[in-house]
């Protein structure tokens, strides 16, 4: 390695140091030690070294319990999910099933079902009905294997329930604006938090909801038809599936968080720590693009419970909403709940001015 080092007589000792740096910036550095050994020795040493490391890997991989190592080995060589052939997808699925089953001590299935023909998923939420009980948030966690630790960054929830102040305009405040006593430039009621989301107000925790002075608005991934997160992803690991949802191939995510910055709906979360997922709480019914356990350093978000919806079942948040505010269905079917909502109710999309065209609609009676 270092040219100043005196060449040793035992060629076997200097050998690995030379062969280990084939891409040296200065080839002349290595050239000084090259003549000390023959080509045969070099090849022999290299061969032995790779043989031994292969045997080591083999020893690790062939052990019956260690599906984890086998899966990691295979995952290093797999393609982006969208570029995989059917056969490769099946291999990836089997690999993950073995790995997760060993890891969580129960049979875990990893689904690779693709988009179903004639389906475009859509979602509608009645903000008039929402009482802010956060059952959807926790149903989502139970279904989708999010990290649920207690230290900072270990607790991940995909749905956020915003609490908005109802506020109140008062006659007494009329003259208390700026300038003082006149309140012309800035009215006295300027700081009334009516219909406003304050940063801390996601974390409301009263005895009982709904509170008298608040309205609630749950937000999660809007599954945009023109998703900004997909535009910015440098490795194209996040993309829109044929039936609507925007998904992530976690194996190709590099954790750069570009998508988190691009999303106007604060929908994406990153695993800054190794996810904390107790074995007993792990949901064994998973989808490759959906709720399979994630690794550290990847971004995740709502995918409308692909492992359920691809098989015709409602997403978990829809099923637990105690007031029935959440509606899910096929936008192409005129008889579906979402189509009926669009047909009959007053509907809006959140931040429609950004031209993201969400398939998540808010409505009210």
């Amino acid at each position: 390695m270092t040219p100043a080092q005196p060449p040793s007589l035992d060629s076997s000792q200097t050998q690995p140091s030379c062969s280990a740096t084939p891409a040296s910036a200065n080839p002349a550095q290595c050239g000084s030690c090259a003549p000390k050994t023959s080509r045969r020795d070099f090849l022999k040493a290299g061969g032995m070294l790779s043989l031994s490391s292969l045997m080591g890997t083999g020893a690790l991989m062939t052990h019956s319990d260690d599906a984890h190592a086998a899966a990691e080995w295979g995952e290093h060589f797999q393609k982006n999910y969208r570029l995989m052939t059917e056969q490769e997808k099946i291999e990836a699925r089997d690999r993950l099933q073995r790995r997760y089953s060993a890891e969580y001590g129960k049979p875990v299935s990893v689904d690779i079902t693709g988009a179903q023909p004639g389906v475009l998923m859509g979602y509608a939420l009645n903000i008039r009905k929402c009482i802010g009980c956060r059952r959807c948030v926790h149903a989502c966690v139970a279904e989708n294997n999010q990290s649920r630790g207690t230290r900072p960054g270990e607790k991940i929830e995909w749905i956020q329930v915003l609490r908005m102040e109802r506020g109140k305009f008062e006659a007494e405040k009329m003259d208390h604006g700026y300038p003082e006593g006149l309140g012309i430039q800035v009215g006295g009621n300027a700081y009334t938090p009516a219909g406003q989301v304050l940063e801390g107000q996601f974390h409301y925790n009263p005895e009982a909801v709904p509170e008298k002075d608040a309205t609630y608005m749950p937000i999660a991934c809007m599954q945009c038809e023109k998703p900004p997160c997909v535009k910015v992803c440098p490795v194209r690991t996040t993309y829109r599936e044929g039936d609507g949802p925007v998904v992530i191939d976690y194996n190709w995510c590099i954790g750069c968080r570009m998508c988190m910055g691009a999303c106007p709906y604060w929908a994406r979360r990153i695993n800054v720590t190794t996810p904390v997922l107790p074995k007993a709480e792990m949901n064994p019914v998973t989808h490759y693009l959906g709720n399979r356990p994630r690794m550290r350093g990847v971004v995740e978000k709502c995918h409308w419970c692909l492992q359920r919806t691809r098989h015709g079942r409602y997403p978990a948040c829809v099923e637990v909403c105690p007031v029935g505010a959440r509606k899910f269905g096929n936008l192409l079917d005129p008889e579906s709940e979402v189509s009926k909502v669009l047909e009959r109710k007053n509907v809006f999309r959140l931040k429609a001015d950004l031209n993201t065209f969400p398939k998540f609609f808010y409505f009210y009676d």
Binding site: A45, L60, I131, V209, P210, M282, V323, F328, N330
Partner: protein
């Protein structure tokens, strides 16, 4: 050369063996407490939409897959493994004829109403203490009957219809374990929508189309669904609860998310307002 190679091989094998040994040990350690915890657990019952209506008991459908997950904080049902657990076909419902047979199911309410089987036999059996058959009251003002009020406490302050309706507008005159429709025919307690739709027709229409109320199961418009009936979410005797203001009974929320780093409490912005 060879020495190094042999040494490396030996090291790799030792490493493999060591790793395996440790992995086995840790697996055993982790397995022991979970087993003990499972045995010690009592059957867990959680409520579904509102407290006092439908309940569901937790059990395993498959190893490691429960039929329902309950919230440790509030005791509410948080996740359904089997949406059709304990359901029966809904029965005839006008407007839903297009649905395939058996694709609309409900959870029977009448089983949960503990005193219901007694209503028609013990007291409202058509044999009164003074008259046979008993005469109906002369006026339609609800009379305070102590036994009835102790059985159903909500009756002390009936909040339905703002004083314009009384018991027998909804309950059958002679068959007290049934509800009543416009023609005086009995309606099962499992199909309250047929009764409620008498007045709340717009809500019935939305419910039938799946816009109002809750359904779980398959999302396709002709898929199999469990329909939540009116009384599973609304308490008919207590619809105008004074404590609430948003059309639904107040309940305890699930725990909040983590606070952002550096924020002490949720009132951060109210305590430190943005200066103008």
């Amino acid at each position: 050369m060879k020495k190094i190679a042999i040494f490396t091989v030996a090291l790799a094998l030792c490493g493999g063996a060591l790793y395996a040994a440790f992995a086995l040990n840790s697996a055993q350690e982790e397995a022991a407490p979970t087993l003990a915890a499972q045995e010690a657990k009592d059957p867990l019952v959680c409520f579904e939409s509102r407290k006092g209506a439908s309940e569901v008991e937790q059990r395993e459908i498959k190893p490691g897959l429960p039929n329902v997950k309950c919230s440790p904080t509030t005791g509410a049902a948080l996740w359904y493994g089997d949406p059709f657990d304990g359901t029966v076909p809904m029965g005839k419902m006008p407007g839903l004829e297009k649905l395939p047979e058996g694709h609309a199911v409900v959870k029977p309410r009448s089983e949960k109403l503990a005193i219901l089987p007694m209503c028609g036999t013990a007291c409202h059996n058509g044999v009164g203490p003074s008259a046979n058959p008993p005469a109906l009251p002369k006026d339609k003002r609800p009379t305070a009957i102590p036994v009835m009020e102790s059985l159903v406490p909500d009756l002390k302050d009936l909040q339905h219809g703002r004083g314009r309706i009384w018991c027998l507008d909804c309950h059958h005159t002679t068959k007290r374990d049934k509800l009543v429709d416009h023609f005086g025919d009995p309606i099962s307690f499992d199909q309250p929508q047929l009764l409620c739709g008498k007045c709340h027709g717009d809500k019935l229409r939305d419910w039938r189309d799946g816009i109002h109320g809750k359904r779980i199961g398959e999302f396709a418009s002709d898929g199999k669904k469990r329909w939540f009936t009116c009384t599973e979410c609304h308490n008919p005797h207590n619809v105008q609860d004074g404590e609430r203001n948003r059309g639904f009974i107040q309940l305890q929320p699930e725990p909040p998310p983590q606070l952002p780093n550096g924020m002490k409490d949720a009132r951060h912005e109210l305590v430190h307002p943005v200066a103008h």
